[in-house]
């Protein structure tokens, strides 16, 4: 792999995003050709069939090298992992293989413009017409959809049953007639998020992942992998980090030095607090992983790592602003301020932390579920808006 210090920094520029994605594919091809792609994926689908520990060892050794980090989430850690668990043989061979070879990227088509955290309330629909399905509706908040090749798309296929029972998951080729992609500009200037519109998109029957009307099971698995990867416990990521902006990856001590505050006791306490949070976060990931493996913790416990990840992110964002002070908003470390505007990213992406807290209280602690007006009601009878 190329050395990290030789990396082209212009790839961090939001305006240069397409180049950054094609660089990701290039790097993945290098990884593939070197025989190190998909270390923990089964060999039948292009991986090496080794253990998460092998991947971990590789990740440790790969520090200092330029890695295809942007392919990790969502392509490998969420989408490929879901296809591996729930897809057909053909889907596993095609999509996992395509991703590992560096030929294809995948994206999640889950959220909808009016959806918020009520994922099972999706109203994008697919209707069967002979051998094909016709897809109509809209999805939003998909990262890098313009650069992706396939999307895991959750849609409604039966409106006569309660919401969870009428869903189906499809593998949708992103660049297909009837799909319009619009990029969304965020407060920090990033245009990675997209909105997609589906107008009579034709999908062959073998695009269904899992069972028709069994989409919630697939989505649940996908959400499990999403929580796992957000929390830092995925066995399918290659290299550490998620290709986050340089300002977020920058060391706090380096930041403190650059603003002349490294010897300030208050600043040192902030640096120490952040370090403690990160060590605790990895300790929690380890503990939850053991808890899930031994059955000591119920499956939804992965939401605890998701919540902790968001909290650590938040605190780091605040700490960076505190260390940089006015320089964060006016001076040389302006990117610190820009980054803080997007502080909520870690607690919204992958489901809001409010949802994580519901999952923890209801499914880990067994507390009563929130009242839901749509429970056991055929979806066509569920109110969709105020009117």
């Amino acid at each position: 792999m190329p050395r990290l210090e030789d990396r082209d920094p212009s790839l961090d520029d939001p305006e240069n995003d397409v180049a950054s994605w094609s660089r990701t594919k290039e790097l993945q091809k290098i990884l593939w050709n070197g025989g190190f792609a998909g270390i923990a994926f089964p060999s039948a689908y292009g991986g090496l069939g080794l253990t998460p520990e092998h991947q971990h060892a590789f990740n440790r050794e790969s520090q200092g090298y330029e890695m295809p980090l942007r392919i990790n989430v969502p392509t490998l850690a969420i989408c490929a992992a879901t296809v591996l668990d729930m897809g057909s043989e053909q889907q596993k061979r095609d999509r996992i293989g395509g991703a590992l070879r560096g030929d294809e990227l995948m994206v999640q088509f889950l959220s909808e413009p009016r959806g918020g955290s009520d994922l099972a309330g999706v109203t994008t629909r697919a209707e069967r017409d002979g051998d094909v399905w016709i897809l109509n509706g809209a999805k939003i908040w998909s990262s890098g959809a313009y650069a992706a090749d396939y999307g895991l798309c959750l849609v409604r296929t039966d409106w006569s049953v309660p919401k969870h029972a009428g869903l189906t998951m499809f593998l949708v080729p992103v660049h297909t007639p009837g799909i319009t992609i619009r990029r969304i500009r965020q407060v920090n200037g990033s245009t990675e998020f997209c909105e997609e519109f589906f107008d009579d998109v034709m999908l062959p029957a073998d695009s269904v992942v899992g069972e028709v009307n069994g989409g919630w099971a697939v989505a649940s698995r996908q959400l499990y992998w999403e929580r796992t990867s957000m929390g830092g416990g995925s066995p399918y990521v290659s290299g550490w980090g998620r290709g986050i902006p340089a300002a977020a990856a920058r060391s706090l001590a380096g930041l403190a030095r650059s603003v002349g505050r490294l010897d300030d006791v208050a600043v040192r306490e902030l640096i120490g607090e952040s370090r403690a949070n990160h060590l605790v976060q990895s300790a929690l990931v380890r503990r939850v992983t053991i808890g899930l493996t031994t059955g000591a913790l119920p499956g939804p416990s992965a939401s605890m790592t998701r919540l902790m990840h968001a909290e650590t992110d938040w605190r780091d964002s605040d700490i960076r602003v505190d260390i940089a002070g006015s320089a964060a908003v006016t001076g040389a470390t302006g990117e610190v301020g820009e980054l803080s505007l997007n502080r909520q990213a870690g607690s919204l992406g992958g489901g809001s932390t409010e949802m994580a807290r519901n999952v923890i209280s209801e499914r880990v602690l067994g507390m009563p579920r929130e009242f839901a007006a749509d429970r056991d009601v055929p979806f066509k009878d569920v109110k969709q808006g105020r009117a």
Partner: protein, 374 residues
């Protein structure tokens, strides 16, 4: 503790828990708080028989552990003691034992501590000073074959019942530790927020001790004191973890039992979200205690860093969780009769003792900054 305890460790935990539950219930803790002594020496000797003093001592010196990872076994005891805010000098005795065993010599003292016949404590704080165990004001002056020690130590745990004091002192050659017997010093009891953990100030008025009182090598105690800080830090964090665990358990049970406006507290989203945070923090506390414990057990390079992270995080979150549990109990939570304050007292003392969260954060920053500079 971790979810992957060995069957032997699980049995050890059960035995410890049963013994503590029958011997020092919270009712007993309340009784002890008004008595002359915070723990009964005969009771401590029985704890020693159960292994509480043996786990950091090698087998050829009469010790031994349940799993060949003595410190991790000891953390099980500390956690169980935290669950019942138990009395007893578990931390000071074991910190001194680990120091003596590492340094070699002092076989008689090791033997009597092991048997629970003697009690030792760790004298590392000084009046008016913060947490700086490697920079003592107590001086050690050579005197013939022996030494003269002068100065005062305070915040000395179990000082009232200690027979031996492991004292840090500044000798001309540098940081040195001495094992000083009770009859050479004056102990003045001080107050304690904890109902059954007592502290005292220890005066060393030109105390003469023989050369054999030195622990380890004269002037070379730095590494040893650093190791003692790690053992103390992780033991204390494990004890706090046990306390938090128990408080969260009975507060969650309370949320299911207590009804307001015709429904249990556990059904209110505003409260459920706080319980979700507390559950997450509690699991995180166990995680970091366990990571720090393994690093100290294995004498790993990152042991000091992980212990500092545990000190910073556990100190901060434990008191936050227990205070929030008081809030969730409502008025009953701030009564003397409710057990909550026993736990809050223990956690509050632990948060302040042997380094505050701020102290630990500064220590972490030192480690991070020096590593980045390297």
């Amino acid at each position: 503790m971790d979810f992957d305890l060995t069957p032997d460790q699980k049995l050890f935990r059960e035995t410890t828990r049963k013994f503590l539950e029958s011997e020092v219930s919270l009712e007993k803790v309340r009784e002890l708080s008004t008595g002359p002594e915070s723990f009964d020496r005969a009771w401590w000797a029985r704890g020693a028989e159960l292994g509480w003093t043996a786990l950091l001592v090698p087998e050829d010196q009469g010790g031994g552990s349940v799993s060949d990872a003595g410190l991790l076994d000891l953390l099980i005891v500390a956690e169980e003691m935290g669950r019942l805010v138990s009395p007893g000098p578990l931390l000071p005795v074991n910190v001194v034992l680990s120091a003596l065993v590492d340094a070699g010599g002092h076989d008689d003292s090791v033997g009597s501590l092991l048997a629970g016949e003697a009690v030792a404590t760790w004298a590392v704080y000084e009046p008016g000073g913060g947490w700086a165990p490697s920079a003592p004001g107590v001086t050690a002056t050579p005197d013939g074959d022996g030494w003269v020690l002068s100065g005062v130590k305070d915040r000395v745990e179990s000082a009232d019942q200690a027979d031996l004091f492991l004292v840090t002192a500044a000798a001309p050659e540098g940081l040195t530790q001495f094992l000083v017997p009770r009859d050479a010093v004056t102990v003045e009891p001080t107050t304690s927020l904890d109902l059954v953990r007592r502290f005292g100030a220890v005066r060393l008025d030109d105390v003469t001790v023989p050369a054999s009182a030195v622990v380890g090598t004269v002037g070379q105690a730095g590494e040893s004191v650093a190791r003692q800080q790690q053992v103390a830090g992780v033991l204390q964090a494990a004890e706090t973890a046990g306390a938090v665990d128990r408080v969260l358990e009975f507060t969650i049970a309370w949320a299911f039992d207590r009804y307001s406006f015709g429904r249990p507290l556990a059904s209110y989203q505003a409260l459920k979200h706080r319980f979700a945070d507390m559950k997450t923090w509690t699991e995180a506390i166990h995680g970091i205690v366990s990571d720090a414990g393994s690093a100290v057990q294995n004498r790993a390079d990152d042991a000091a860093e992980l212990v500092a992270a545990a000190g910073a995080y556990v100190g901060e979150k434990s008191t936050a969780i227990i205070q929030d549990c008081v809030q969730l109990h409502g008025g009953i939570g701030v009564t003397w009769e409710h057990d909550l304050h026993l736990y809050l007292r223990r956690a509050t003392v632990n948060r302040a003792l042997y380094g505050t969260p701020s102290d630990h954060r500064r220590a972490l920053a030192d480690i991070v900054i020096s590593r980045e500079a390297a």
